[in-house]
Amino acid sequence: MRHHLILRVVTKLLVGAIILFALYVQFHGDFSPGGGFQAGVIMAVAFIIYGVVFSLRQAQRVFPPWLVHKLLALGVLIYAFTGLVSMALGYEYLNYGAFTPHHPEHGQHWGILIVELGVGVTVTGVMVAIYYAFAARPPTISDKDW
């Protein structure tokens, strides 16, 4: 898409806004609609749109595949370890009241934030990894045939 000047400029403007919006959805998910799943998808969309409009190579320079693959696993580990920590503190698995025993509401709040972060990281990783996997294959249809 080398020749689409307008698309490229608009994308440059939008990518930042999309990432910001993803972070908002991620960390504001307990007050308004949103959460890890949506934030992960929106974050991935930012990288995907960058990859589509510029090129896969440039997107991979910003967000290299090895990092994506690490993030994929990291999110699930964050989630699972939150559960283990609450267990180590003498509560049930994934009972976030464990973090602040004198005021369980705050613990719940923190727990939800951390767990949602884990979900968001995994979903971002998976979606971007899937996009990279598809886009890295040589297409059988040339651009003109569309």
Partner: protein, 144 residues
């Protein structure tokens, strides 16, 4: 069985519409030979199941299950059922992940066999099976 009053029909027409959508998806899966189209059909089917769930959670006069930020909850406010929302929320994301797995399989099939039409794939399968049988027979020295 309940009588078909007007109230009954209005209260159930949403389920019927979702059933129609669901069957459209099923028809695509069953009748179309192209594998990509089958995946789209599965998606339509899946989305209509989601709608069925969400519509079960709706309470007349209710609002979205989000409290005011100051947590001063008006006891008269009716909230819709949050449970189906949770289930479907995760199901959508899992759905797209599995859809992409299906699409990846299709890409592999295309690379291996050069087609994603079901009929042609079945032909190729049959030819391969026949070839296997022949090779097996030769290896057994005509005894098999």
């Amino acid at each position: 069985m309940a009588a078909f009053t007007l109230e009954f029909i209005v209260g159930h027409v949403n389920y019927w519409l979702f059933t129609v959508l669901m069957m459209t998806g099923l028809y695509i899966v069953v009748a179309k030979g192209n594998l990509v189209k089958k995946i789209v059909g599965l998606n339509v089917f899946q989305t209509s199941v989601f709608m069925l769930y969400i519509s079960m959670g709706k309470v007349t006069g209710g609002t979205a299950p989000i409290f005011p930020t100051d947590m001063q909850i008006d006891p008269d406010t009716v909230y819709s059922n949050p449970l189906p929302h949770v289930l479907i929320l995760t199901a959508i994301v899992v759905g797209v992940a599995t859809t992409s797995l299906g699409l990846a399989l299709i890409v592999r099939i295309q690379e291996q066999f050069g087609t994603i039409e079901e009929d042609e794939l079945l032909e190729i399968e049959k030819a391969m099976a026949a070839e296997d049988t022949r090779l097996h027979g030769e290896a057994m020295g005509g005894l098999a």
